[in-house]
């Protein structure tokens, strides 16, 4: 796969720029992010948004896949409780989020690297502040070093037990 070389700013030790993958619901947070754009709000450029029809579509595997492929953080944006465009998809998201958080903790992934926010279509400002906060927190945590070696060891132990 042909890929872009990491730029100087990305490789420099001086300032670590985290990479965050976001899953935004088409009906609320994605719209709020659009509104942030139309309102020309400025926020950190570290987030890459994947649009889904509902936060309930976020398969836990997506989150794990993002971390496995080098994301330093994962952000899920869904509709406020009671506001889901599909009635209750966001409640399913919430359940999975809590479960996944525990799994990630077991894997040594810090809590602040995984965030769920309820952001309505009108809350552009919340997109800005939530993204900025998350980028700051993840920047403080530093790069996520998911050492493959550690993972292999973990599996080895599992087999031994």
């Amino acid at each position: 796969m042909l890929s872009r070389q990491p730029s100087a700013s990305e490789t420099s030790q001086a300032k670590f720029e985290p990479r965050i993958v976001a899953f935004f619901c088409n009906w609320c947070t994605y719209l709020a992010a659009d509104l942030a754009g139309t309102s020309r709000m400025k926020y950190a450029p570290n987030v890459r948004v994947v649009r889904l029809m509902c936060s309930g579509r976020v398969d836990p595997q997506f989150v794990l896949d993002a971390f496995a492929h080098g994301a330093d953080g994962v952000f899920i944006g869904g509709c406020h409780p009671g506001d889901c465009h599909y009635q209750e998809g966001n409640y399913k998201t919430l359940k999975r989020y809590h479960l996944l958080k525990r799994v990630l903790k077991e894997m040594g992934i810090e809590e602040d690297r995984f965030r769920l926010e309820w952001i309505s279509a009108a809350e552009a400002d919340r997109v800005r502040t939530a993204i900025n906060q998350m980028v700051e927190k993840v920047r403080d945590l530093g790069p996520l070093n998911l050492e493959l070696k550690d993972l292999e060891n973990a599996y080895a132990e599992e087999v031994l037990v």
């Binding site: 796969m1 042909l2 890929s3 872009r4 070389q5 990491p6 730029s7 700013s9 990479r19 993958v21 088409n26 009906w27 609320c28 994605y30 719209l31 992010a33 659009d34 942030a36 754009g37 139309t38 020309r40 709000m41 400025k42 926020y43 450029p45 890459r48 948004v49 994947v50 649009r51 889904l52 029809m53 509902c54 309930g56 579509r57 976020v58 398969d59 836990p60 595997q61 997506f62 896949d65 993002a66 492929h69 080098g70 994301a71 009671g82 506001d83 465009h85 599909y86 009635q87 209750e88 998809g89 399913k92 999975r96 309505s120 279509a121 009108a122 809350e123 800005r128």
Partner: protein, 669 residues
Amino acid sequence: MPEISQLSGPEAVRVGFYVCHCGTNIAGTVDVKALAGYAASLPRVAVSREYKYMCSDPGQALIEQDIADHKLNRVVVASCSPLLHEATFRRALGRAGLNPFLLQMVNIREHVSWVHLDKKAATEKAQDLVRAAVQRVALHKPLQKRRVDINPSVLVVGGGIAGIHAALTLAEAGKQVYLVEREPTIGGHMAMFDKTFPTLDCAACILTPKMTAVGSHPNIKLWTYSEVVKVDGYVGNYKAQVKHKPRYVIDDLCIGCQECIAACVYKEGKTPDEFNLGLSMRKPIYLPFPQAVPQKVVIDRDTCIEFKSGKCKKTCVEACGDRLAIDFKQKETFDEIEIGAIILATGFKTFAPERNPYCGYGRYPNVYTSLEVERLINASGPTAGEVILRDGKKPASVGIIHCIGSRDANTNRWCSKVCCMYSLKLAHLIKEHTGAEVFNFYIDMRTPGKGYEEFYDRLLDEGVHFVRGRVAEVSDWAVHPSEEGKLVIRAEDTLAGFVRRIPVDMVVLSVGLEPQSDAQDVRRLFNISCASEGWFLERHPKLAPVSTFTEGVYIAGACQGPKDIPDSVAQAGAAAAEALALIDAKSVELEPYTASILEEECSGCKSCISLCPYQAIAFIEEKKKAYINEVLCKGCGTCVAGCPSGSIKQNFFEDEEIFEEIEGVLAYA
């Protein structure tokens, strides 16, 4: 997971990539030339171009031409939000003979160029997103939109001027309309007004003909004292459940003679009259106001003696005689209706001035809200059109305070738009009725509208006083003999440069407009959004002002934001036209983002069945497999994410497609 390499060979993927400058909107922040160059270096990209306006006709023609010339079978457009132009570019693909769903859009305007300042970082982000899209689009499959028939009836919620106008427009076009109003009569706020600005035509004179037209129109089913309690379905095929609250009077039998009201054992009204805002009293059996539509009385069970003790002489029943219209045992009833479109015209409420204690409302009896003064001025109001103080005397001086609950950091920040004009109207009417000296206290005079500024000029000529500045306090604290027994308005006169004390007999608070207190419940019911202030959110503030993000649900009037009568009527007409355009098309296309079961992989665990809020998933016992009914599926994808064996796929959001996108944005590492 199918490897992308499998898609090579005779079915080789050939991607056309297009980046839009959007004038300088994108090109000013993202290096579009570099982006096009970068995309050209990605695998499977056959053509990569940048163009000033991709959404323009030549821009779309460029794509169509390339599809033919370069045998493209996938297209990626990096431009604005897909919610804006995905449909545009899908149509372009369709015209070129390519399935529209072989397109992927990259949002580099709303999500990149407009929100980032650092050009380098913005360009890098755009590159990541483009790479993800190019990877993802390779897996896209041709999809077909589903076509469903549209039910040609429309539900209009709210019987104010906006709802009335929308209902009449649709009914005139020959459509079946259900108009649901929760109060016992239609008319809304407009029915409470005396005159309307700036022409001073009488509100009742222009409104009541429309109200009676609604009441008698063969195509309108008018349900007052009713509420929509449940909404199901989707565009073109909504189902709604309407609750009819008991009036304790049988609609079909009541002829509106009002003899029962005269006969009520209460000789005088003892309950504050809602329509007159408590300025007069009504009996337990009443007609909200003389021109009410329908002309059917209502019994208020909270104050009726029969309901309280069961021992009333029931003189009302006697008076009704063999018409037999009164039924104390009436229960609430429900109707189920099927409609193709819904128009919400649920209106506003006025600001409660108790929230601004400094203006003295509730503390000093002669401090009124503007709506109360409308009722005082109105000939059918509590004082038969006399503007009088609580002691019955005519005021010699009146202060009108603008922006109560508007343009105020402590309450509502927005301008309520109508208050300047109605304050001018009230100033004129009060002066006409009483000859009083009238003072207007305003922040700015906002009179944009046809004939509005001229009306302001007229008021200046009529000798109404205008004081520019915010009022600090209304009190009865006299510091000078001339202030004894008066209400003193303290305000900064910003034009004169000092604080003034102006003693008046009567204070009118020009209260602003607010979303209805249950606006949040209503929008949940109809699955639409509210802006942060609580007004219903339109699909686009300029280009789709009456549409919502839920197809087939439209909004009109002040439920969308403060609006005067002309604007509400204009919006109602627009909403009716949108609804007509939808239902007259007879059928509608639905996005094909539905989910389906991969039967060979389904283990029959039934985990998905409880996840579906639409009961679209059934379990087929013979096969021990789940089955998704495509008609019921709305395409949220919750079941796909919840399936433990990965045996559900969602069109356009297949696992593999999303994995490609995730890995694509992260691939440079």
